[in-house]
Assembly symmetry: C2
């Protein structure tokens, strides 16, 4: 939500001269994405996003992220496309940082998801999973089950300051997930962070999916589990089964679930809730005193996790088995 690297007009004019954009008319640092610096550029030929990759993004992952966007866009998925400079390269350098110029997508992210949003999301997610099938690069999910214990260990000593008993409850949940996490489900490239912030709509139509910087290879159903958590709870953390049904039904019309995927969904939803709980808890406990960016409430995900712990089967998500 900030601009970490300040780019001058002079540096930028020099950078974009290698692209075919026409004259640069304006640029503004934008408050988008937690990890990188982003600028919205307006040039004679249109609008673009300039992203400078900051230290939290591993430079060796950038070919995966940029290549994936290009691959998906080439298969009809509406997502940002990296532009190639005159030298043919999409990944370049600006102000000492890896940088890429990316197409701009119109659309608005909903603050409060409606059922029609969930329905459109399900179909788009399934199409994205199918479109990624022949993407040749691989990236493991660093924030899946084997990444959670180090996070918990970094938080456990102070977790109870956030909510009494939290450390023990998280330890017990993590043990359960480690013991029961599936090792074989349909898998491929997933988005892994598909929150409403990262999906654009124009009225009822989904116009784009952005922010592929957590994308990785993992179970397709895990992406659905992330969406169940991010799209199907109300503001008061009550689960909205209608939204879940819309999401899953419209997904399944594009890509049918296997029985094993359906059976795994409650566990994957617990895992996804724990993943966001742990990263939020980490940020909550480690953010600098007085920092401007207010960390997100980890306990929102604790409530979601408790909901999934009570779920006895995928029927709770609105599916007729």
């Amino acid at each position: 939500m900030a601009v970490y690297t300040e780019v001058s007009a002079e540096d930028l004019a020099c950078f974009v001269a290698d692209y075919d954009l026409g004259e640069l008319l304006s640029f503004k640092g934008i408050a988008e994405g937690v990890e990188n610096s982003n600028y919205l550029l307006q040039a004679e030929k249109g609008s673009y996003i300039l992203t400078l990759y900051e230290k939290r993004v591993a430079a060796e992952d950038l070919p995966f992220f940029l290549g994936l966007m290009e691959h998906l866009a080439g298969r009809g998925i509406s997502c940002p496309v990296p532009l190639h400079a005159g030298d043919g390269k999409a990944l370049r350098q600006l102000c000492g940082r890896p940088a890429a110029l990316i197409s701009f997508l119109e659309g608005l992210s909903p603050r409060r998801a409606q059922t029609f949003h969930c329905s459109a999301l399900g179909a788009a997610l399934a199409r994205m999973h199918l479109a990624g099938a022949d993407f040749p690069l691989q990236r493991r999910n660093a924030l899946s089950v084997d990444g959670w214990r180090p996070l918990l260990e970094a938080c456990a000593g102070r977790a109870d300051t956030v909510s009494p008993g939290l450390a023990e409850a998280l330890e017990s949940e993590l043990k359960h997930l480690e013991a029961n996490w599936p090792d074989k489900l349909p898998a491929g490239v997933i988005h892994a962070d598909l929150f409403p912030d990262n999906v654009f709509f124009r009225r009822e139509q989904l116009t784009g999916i952005i922010d592929f910087y957590f994308a990785c290879n993992d179970f397709f159903a895990y992406d659905l589990a992330v969406c169940l958590n991010a799209w199907c709870f109300e503001q008061d953390n009550a689960f909205n089964v209608t939204k879940a049904r819309m999401l899953l039904q419209s997904y399944s019309r594009e890509r049918a679930f296997s029985e094993a995927e359906l059976e795994a969904l409650p566990l994957l939803a617990r895992g996804s809730a724990l993943r966001f709980l742990l990263t939020r808890l980490y940020d909550w406990l480690h953010h600098p005193e007085g920092a401007f960016v207010q960390p997100k409430d980890p306990l929102e995900y604790w409530k979601k996790l408790k909901f999934h712990q009570e779920v006895r089967g995928p029927g709770a998500y609105g599916l007729d088995l």
Copy 2:
């Protein structure tokens, strides 16, 4: 440099429905302005800036700021213009804050001012001073000489932690300025914060002046003194007399200086340097530990102030008397 109030797509769509923009296509929080929350909107009819006024801006000053922009734009000055909603109002409410929708200006702010920038700036500043002559509202300059002592008092106890001897030097400088500050010079509406950030160019042409939220009634020559400090020193804080000459000469071709204004220029330049030194020093000493926004170096203005202390007359700024 941040978005303080987060506006949802739903709230925004509702807000802009009262304007004649066509459909809203996208909006991004932008890192512009220290005091307010700003969004760049793209709609069917063009691009706009939405500003939500945060607590540091006094609500009673908003009619002055918005009215001034409209007044100046009506007299051919290229500056943002507040749009009027269907109810005729330019100043409205959004998310519990005063808010205005303002036209978007193309152009880029130079990081390193060149002589041609200074020349264009001088002419635009003089035209702005003339265009403001019949603006009916008044606002006193809260950051002129009588506003500096409270700032110094809030900093004096710790000023020496920034640079040994600074507190005493500032006290002595402020006494000199209080004793010698002019009380009668040509005056009118001034911008009072005309840093390169606030001036847009397209190639060599000045395309706009923005950010009128320090505008007030004060000496015209004080605005020039601000520009001398903000535009005519090099990165190493060496004064560039050629840039100063371009600035002042092109100003004087649009609005001739009085002799008293010329004589006062070195003192006004000291005052303007002290004003930015004090506000930066205040922010330096009072910013929260670990805050994301790094305060600007107050000592840059200490070096500029020392330059002006040695000046014996306006000839040092490149003027032939």
